[in-house]
C-alpha cells in the first residue's frame, strides 16, 4: 500500500499560482494553519480560496496571495469578523463570490458527486443572486400532473441551480491520520472536510500525528475516521499545525494570540512586526515563538 507521508513544503510545491484551493475547518476552528503559513511564505499568488472562512482567509489576504474568495463569511468566532478580511474587502484588494452557507455545501457536494449543479431554495430572493450574476435558476420538470408532486407550489417550481465548486486542490487538518492517508477527527465536528477533499483534484491532509495504517482505533473511535484514503493524496505531520485556531481535544483556540493577529490589521507597523515574528519564519521557529510567548 502506498505510503502517503509528505511534508508541508512538498504540498506547497505541488500548488500553482491561479489555482482554486479549498480549505477545511470552519471559522477559527481546525484550520490547516501550518500549510497556510507556508503558503504565505511562498511565491504563489492570484489564488482563489474556497472556505468557511477564518484566519486562513485573513492571513492569505494580508500577505497578498489572494485574487478571489468563495465564502459565506469570514469569522474568528470569538471576534465576529476577521479584520484583515475586512481591510482587504474595503480596500478593494480581493474579489468575492459570496454564497449562502448551504449553497456552499451543495456546491462542494455537486463537485464531489460529479454533477454540474444541485437545486436548492437557498439564495432565492436574496442578493446572492444579484452579486453573482453567473448563478442560474432551474425549473423543476415535474408539473401538477406528476405523481411526484404533492404540493401545487412545487409544480414546475424555480430553484437555484447551485453550480459545482470544483477545486484544484484541498487541504484539511485532522487530529490523527495514518500513513495510508486515512484521517481521524477527534473533535466534535468534522465540518465539511470530507466534502472539500471529494470536490478536489489534489487532496492533502495535515495532521497532529501520523500513526501506522490500522492503528487509528488506538487513538479514538473508528466512527471518528471520517476521511478514508480514497480521498487523499498526501499527509503531512504538523504538530500544532492548526494553531491558533481551535483543535480539540489536542488544544483549544489561542485567544491571546488571535487577539494579537486581529490587532495587527489596519496598522502597517503592527502588521510588519507580526509578519516578521510569525510569518517570515520556518514552522519550527513559529512553534518555538508561540511556546515562548505562552511562557512569558
Amino acid at each position: 500500500m502506498a505510503d502517503k507521508r509528505t511534508t508541508v513544503d512538498d504540498i506547497v510545491a505541488e500548488l500553482r499560482s491561479g489555482m482554486t484551493i479549498g480549505i477545511g475547518g470552519w471559522g477559527s476552528r481546525r484550520k490547516p494553519m501550518a500549510l497556510i503559513r507556508a503558503l504565505c511564505r511562498s511565491d504563489l499568488r492570484d489564488l482563489t480560496l474556497v472556505a468557511y472562512g477564518g484566519p486562513d482567509v485573513g492571513l492569505l489576504c494580508a500577505t497578498g496571495k489572494v485574487k478571489k474568495v468563495v465564502c459565506a463569511f469570514v469569522t474568528l468566532d470569538s471576534i465576529a469578523l476577521d479584520p484583515h478580511w475586512r481591510a482587504a474587502r474595503q480596500e478593494g484588494r480581493v474579489d468575492v463570490m459570496e454564497l449562502d452557507e448551504g449553497m456552499f455545501f451543495q456546491g462542494l457536494q455537486a463537485a464531489a458527486w460529479r454533477v454540474p449543479f444541485l437545486p436548492t431554495r437557498a439564495g432565492l430572493g436574496s442578493d446572492v443572486l444579484t452579486v453573482n450574476p453567473d448563478l442560474r435558476l432551474v425549473r423543476s420538470p415535474y408539473g401538477a400532473d406528476s405523481p411526484y408532486v404533492d404540493d401545487p407550489s412545487d409544480a414546475h417550481v424555480e430553484l437555484v441551480a447551485m453550480p459545482a465548486l470544483r477545486l484544484d486542490a484541498a487541504v484539511v487538518h485532522t487530529n490523527r491520520a495514518d500513513t495510508a492517508g486515512n484521517g481521524q477527527i477527534l473533535g466534535p465536528d468534522p465540518f465539511f472536510d470530507p466534502l472539500f477533499l471529494g470536490a478536489a483534484e489534489r487532496r492533502f491532509l495535515t495532521t497532529e500525528r501520523i500513526v501506522e495504517n490500522g492503528r487509528l482505533t488506538d487513538e479514538g473511535p473508528l466512527s471518528a475516521v471520517v476521511i478514508h484514503r480514497m480521498l487523499t493524496d498526501g499527509v503531512a505531520e504538523t504538530p500544532g499545525g492548526a494553531h491558533f485556531t481551535a483543535n480539540p481535544p489536542d488544544y483549544g483556540r489561542d485567544e491571546s494570540f488571535q487577539k494579537e493577529y486581529a490587532g495587527s490589521a489596519g496598522d502597517p507597523a503592527g502588521w510588519g512586526a507580526f509578519s516578521l515574528r510569525y510569518i517570515d519564519v520556518t514552522e519550527d521557529e513559529y512553534q518555538a515563538r508561540v511556546a515562548q510567548r505562552r511562557s512569558s
Binding site: L81, G102, M103, A122, G123, L124, D127, P188, F191, F192
Partner: protein, 260 residues
Amino acid sequence: MTPLRPNGQPCTRAESCVIACADTWRGAGEIMASPFGTIPSLGARLAKSTFAPDLVLTDGEAALMVGAPPITTGPADVVREAAMPYRSVFDVVWSGRRHIMMMASQIDRSGNQNISAIGDHRHPDVQLIGVRGAPGNSVNHPTSYWVPDHSVRSFVEHVDVVSGVGYARAAAAGAGATRFHDVRRVVSNLGVFDFDTPDRSMRVRSYHPGVSVDEIVRATSFTLSIPDDVQETRAPTAAELQLLRTVLDPGSLRDRDVKR
C-alpha cells in the same frame, strides 16, 4: 431603570427584550431554536424552561443539550443529548424544523435583512460578517431578527445587501421562495414588530415599557404601520423574572447587550 408595571413585574429594558424574544418561540413545539446574541439566547432558554419545553437547543458547538443551563455554561459543562454537526444543521434547516433569531445590521420595511456589507457590495464602505445562512434560513423556516440598537441607521427604507429575504423579494422570486418563507418577528431594544399587514410591511406589535411609539417612529427610517390598539410588551411573570435573574443570567450579561 425599573418602572412599576400595572400588568406584571417591574423589569429592566433588557428583561423586556428577553421576554419579547422568548415569546417568539411560544407554541413552536419540537423544533430547533437558534438564537444569536445574548438576549435571544436568554429568551430561548427562558422559553424552553417554561412554556416551550420541547424546544431543541444546541450547545453552540456541535451537540444538542439537555435543558436550558445558565447563559455562561460552556460546551464542556452541558449535558448533551445528541450530535448536531454543521452538516446535520442543514438537514434541520431544509426540513423546516427550526426557528432562528438572527441579528441584523440593517432591516427594512419588507423584512429584508443585511449582514453582508454596507454600501456597494463590489467595494463596500463597511464589510460585515457575510450573508452566512441567512438567504437559506429565511426561505426554509421561520426567521426572526434581534436588533439591539434601533435607529434610523438600522431600520432603513432599503437594506444595502439582501441577506435574509423579506416578503416582497420572496414574492417576486416565486413559489420556491414563498412556500416556507415566514419572517415572524423583529425584536429591537425599543419594541416588537411583525408583518401581519395586508401588504406584509412592518408593523409595530408592541413597545417596550418606558418607550413611546413616537420614539420608535423617530428611530425608524421608513413608515411603520401602527395599529390603533398597539400594546405595551408584556411584562414577565414573577417566576420568569426569578428564573432569568437567579438561574439563567445571574451575572446580568443581558444588560451589556442593550444600550438603553
